[in-house]
Amino acid sequence: MVDMRALVESDLEDLLEGDFGLPVTLISPAGESVTVMGQVAYDTRRYDPTTGAEMIIDTPVVTVRRSSLPTIPADGENWSVRIPSTPTVTGELETYIVETPLQGGRSYGWITLQLTKVSQSV
């Protein structure tokens, strides 16, 4: 009999960490760094505020396998994420933080991080 959980985990490894995976470095609130492979989407979205004018906004999103992380991010914690600025393994790394509440995937073993830009403090 097929172990569906193991099959999902295997699929996640292929999908998130396979050929399309990119190196993602997470820095935990304790300052610990870990680099894993994950999917990075550099999407741009549109939304309509009440002004009537459409707003365009970049929405970088990282999806990684939970089982690859020594510590799982939780809502309200200050995490930093470094991703390549272009979708290439050798791309220059950009630093973001995780401010938006985390999204799902616990049933199937992934976690999605929506990234927020940072500027240097004085």
Binding site: E32, T51, A53, S80, E99, T116, K117, S121
Partner: protein
């Protein structure tokens, strides 16, 4: 019409009062971008949005009262603020990185402060007693900003963007100057025509007596 002069004056007033703290846009954009509104590049858009012309006996032959509303839209975007250099340094210790993350200022908090500050600036610029008339060339009455609303921050995106809006109302008059029409070929404006009037007094028959009017064409 005079409301166009008032709109131009509002753009000038807002532009003069900006002092590098925001950008003034004198029309309603079809699209905007979060990254164009970061920090002091936040924008103030002002445009005429509606007008009322109350009917009155005085307005039938004289100036017409124009109660006009201008919409003022504010957009501000912010990134989070953190000690990026420490987070990116290969020599930083875990403790240093933890300290940097603990001191992080969240983008949503900064964006909320930024839009509040922007409204405060714009309100004080437009409601300044020095701009009571919304001049030059105009002495508008009843200038008033009646309220301010702001949206919740958009839940997605690398920059937290806040949008707010206010309405400025005022009253002024409009003169009806008349508007020339195009000729049949769609060219130019037909000039006022001269009318030749001759008294017809044909003694042969009383049926032809009266006034003969001839359109002599443009002056």
């Amino acid at each position: 019409m005079n409301f166009q002069t008032i709109k131009a004056n509002l753009i000038t007033i807002l532009g003069t009062g900006a002092a590098g703290r925001y950008r003034t846009v004198g029309y309603q954009r079809q699209r905007d971008s979060a990254k164009l509104n970061v920090d002091d590049s936040r924008s103030v858009q002002v445009f005429y949005t509606s007008g009322n012309f109350p009917k009155s006996g005085a307005g039938l032959r004289g100036p017409i009262r124009h109660e006009m509303t201008f919409r003022i839209e504010l957009i501000a975007s912010k990134a989070a603020v953190v000690d990026v250099a420490t987070l990116e340094s290969a020599t930083s210790t875990e403790a240093q990185k933890a300290t940097a993350l603990a001191a992080m200022q969240k983008a949503s908090s900064l964006a909320d402060d930024s839009i509040d500050e922007l409204f405060s600036i714009v309100y004080n610029v437009l409601m300044d007693n020095a701009e009571l008339d919304l001049g030059p060339g105009i002495v508008a009455a009843s200038r008033w900003i009646g309220g301010f609303n702001k949206d919740a921050p958009h839940p997605r995106g690398d920059l937290v963007t806040m949008v707010g809006s206010a309405s400025l109302t005022c009253t002024y008059f409009e003169e009806i100057t008349g508007e020339g029409a195009l000729n049949v070929d769609g060219e130019g404006v037909i000039q006022p025509t001269t009318i030749d009037v001759d008294i017809v007094n044909d003694d042969d028959t009383d049926t032809k007596q009266g006034v003969q009017v001839t359109n002599a064409g443009p002056e």
